[in-house]
């Protein structure tokens, strides 16, 4: 019953998405082009002219591209798991409509999460294609960065959606963006190696999901894979996503079945 109902809940989101997919694809192309162009070429030419030893001997573009992939996963997850979740109760009421059907709150949650996974896969695939065109992928393992980015996104989407359903005022989301997402984006070894930060800051980064996502994607696109660290990064992200799913099933039930 669970899987079948999850699938039914997902399909509603796909019908809704059909209306807006064109504009969403344009923006999913534009973002990577701007980022890779400005960071990779613009900033990259400056960085590379000073030597790339600190980056592990790879051009800045190759260093930063997998990080932006992971950041984009986080951003996609945050935008899909905040306002749309809130709106599904308050605005378009998709959740409330689904509730009149056999679907249970947990099915509604999992179906929406699955839709977020699809959005993550789409955006990540577009990004990887563009990154390849920019010549910033240096290993065939880069193909595995697609699921890695999706899992990074889900490590955000599941717990954030679990929280969003409990939120009563939508301005809380802006706090999450400003004080959660922005610092993570800046200090997770994305634009510069973590080793450049003071020693005491580094352990803080190790507990954030984005750092694991960045490190995982980077290992894959650079082809510098160490099985031990892949297991750690992947394990961390999967555990976080699984905890998010378990909590979300409860918070959705508590909010919708009252």
């Amino acid at each position: 019953m669970g899987l079948r109902f999850t699938w039914r809940a997902l399909r509603a989101w796909l019908v809704v998405y059909r209306r807006i997919w064109r504009s969403s694809v344009y923006s999913s192309i534009l973002g990577p082009v701007l980022y890779l162009g400005a960071m990779g070429y613009g900033l990259g030419s400056l960085v590379d002219s000073h030597g790339t030893v600190g980056l592990g001997g790879v051009p800045y573009l190759a260093f930063v591209a997998p990080a932006i992939l992971a950041v984009q996963g986080m951003q996609t997850a945050m935008s899909e798991a905040t306002f749309p979740v809130y709106g599904a109760v308050k605005w378009n009421r998709i959740y409330l409509v689904a509730q009149a059907s056999p679907l249970r709150p947990a099915d509604i949650f999992r179906g929406h999460l699955l839709f977020m996974a699809i959005r993550l896969a789409m955006n990540s695939a577009v990004f990887l294609a563009i990154a390849a065109a920019f010549g910033s992928l240096r290993s065939p393992w880069a193909i595995a960065a697609l699921p890695a980015a999706v899992i990074t996104g889900l490590a955000f989407a599941a717990p954030v959606a679990a929280w969003s359903i409990t939120v009563r005022k939508d301005y809380y989301f802006n706090y999450a963006f400003r004080f959660g997402m922005t610092p993570l984006m800046l200090f997770s070894g994305t634009f510069f190696p973590l080793s450049r930060l003071p020693g005491w800051v580094q352990p803080l980064a190790y507990v954030t999901p984005l750092w694991h996502g960045v490190a995982l994607c980077r290992e894959l696109t650079l082809g510098r894979i160490s099985p031990g660290s892949v297991v750690i990064h992947l394990g961390y992200l999967l555990v976080l996503a699984a905890v998010g799913v378990a909590v979300g099933e409860r918070t959705y039930t508590r909010r919708l079945y009252v």
Binding site: L96, A100, S101
Partner: protein, 309 residues
């Protein structure tokens, strides 16, 4: 004896310290239209949500289609059609897409949804709007579409929470007409309303709800016979003598007299005779009206308040 589709015994709903539904008993029989009449805040919507299996009862027993909603919510909901109080249509989708999305929640195959969509849109007179967006539709059209949507799974019971609240009189009559036709087809309806004319027109049997409890139960005819007189004489006096006239009228021979803020109601078997009695006493009302008793009068009798306060 018709089959019992819903049975409640001591059904209770509490939110923290607040009791929304306080131990109510009722039965819904196959094929009937059953109404909950009461003012806002009486506990009607909470009751509907429990029957719709989207809200767990806090206490008492509730059996729907022979099943326990606490354990078999999905199975029960698969057999219900729900028309919520507020429109929950997706206004960014077309009329047809709204039915498609909804039908899929019930796991219906696309071909079945397509076939039923055509028939249902025809039934609610929206066939010509099938591929239009929902956004620009009028309130009455949206409500009819919501009714069509609720029928996509061919439900055993149709649950309607305030089906015509917020509609203009003409749109309301169109909705009533459609609901009446459903009733003629044998669809079992359970609805809430705070409009006594809606209750009188649609309900075979109803309960009057007030302050989380059921105050009375019966057919509209039974309730009228039990709690009010055949006729009502409504009198309006100038405000300055309203009170005084009220006292005089209270001494007249009426089964009951209600002194409202703007009117005096005399509950009598014969309105003309009562009016003659009033005029005999030398009272000169500004306006007089003799009418039949309605459920509004039943409600006033039971609660001392009017329905739409």
């Amino acid at each position: 004896m018709p089959e019992v589709l819903v049975r409640a015994r001591g059904l209770t709903k509490r939110f923290g310290g607040f009791t929304a539904v306080d131990g109510i008993d009722f039965e819904l029989f196959q094929g009937e239209a059953f109404g909950f009449l009461g003012p806002n805040g009486a506990g009607k919507s909470s009751t509907m949500r429990m029957i719709s299996c989207v809200s767990p009862p806090t206490g008492g027993e509730l059996t729907i289609l022979g099943r326990d909603p606490r354990r078999d919510g999905p199975g029960i909901r698969a057999r219900l059609g729900v028309v919520p109080q507020e429109d929950t249509l997706d206004v960014e989708l077309t009329v047809r897409e709204n039915l498609l999305v909804y039908g899929r929640y019930f796991g219906l195959p696309r071909a079945v949804i397509r076939e039923r969509t055509a028939a249902l849109l025809d039934f609610v007179q929206l066939s010509d709007r099938a591929d239009d967006m929902v956004e620009p539709l009028s309130g009455g059209m949206k409500r009819r579409l919501t009714i069509a949507r609720s029928l996509i799974n061919d439900p055993d019971i149709l649950v309607l929470d305030e089906p015509t609240t917020g509609l203009d009189p003409q749109a309301r009559h169109v909705v009533w007409d459609r609901l009446f036709r459903l009733k003629q087809r044998g669809v079992t309806l359970i609805l809430t309303t705070h409009y006594m004319d809606e209750a009188e027109q649609l309900c075979d049997r109803l309960v009057v709800m007030d302050h989380a409890r059921i105050a009375a139960e019966g057919t509209p005819r039974e309730l009228l016979a039990r709690y009010t007189t055949p006729e009502v004489l409504e009198l309006r006096f100038p405000p300055e003598i309203h009170e005084q006239a009220g006292q005089k009228i209270a001494s007249l021979d009426a089964q009951r007299t209600e002194l409202l803020a703007d009117r005096i109601l005399m509950y009598v078997p014969d309105g003309d005779a009562a009016l003659a009695g009033v005029l005999d006493r030398g009272l000169e009302p500004m306006t007089t009206l003799i009418r039949r008793s309605t459920l509004e009068d039943v409600f006033l009798r039971l609660t001392g308040r009017s329905l739409e306060d």
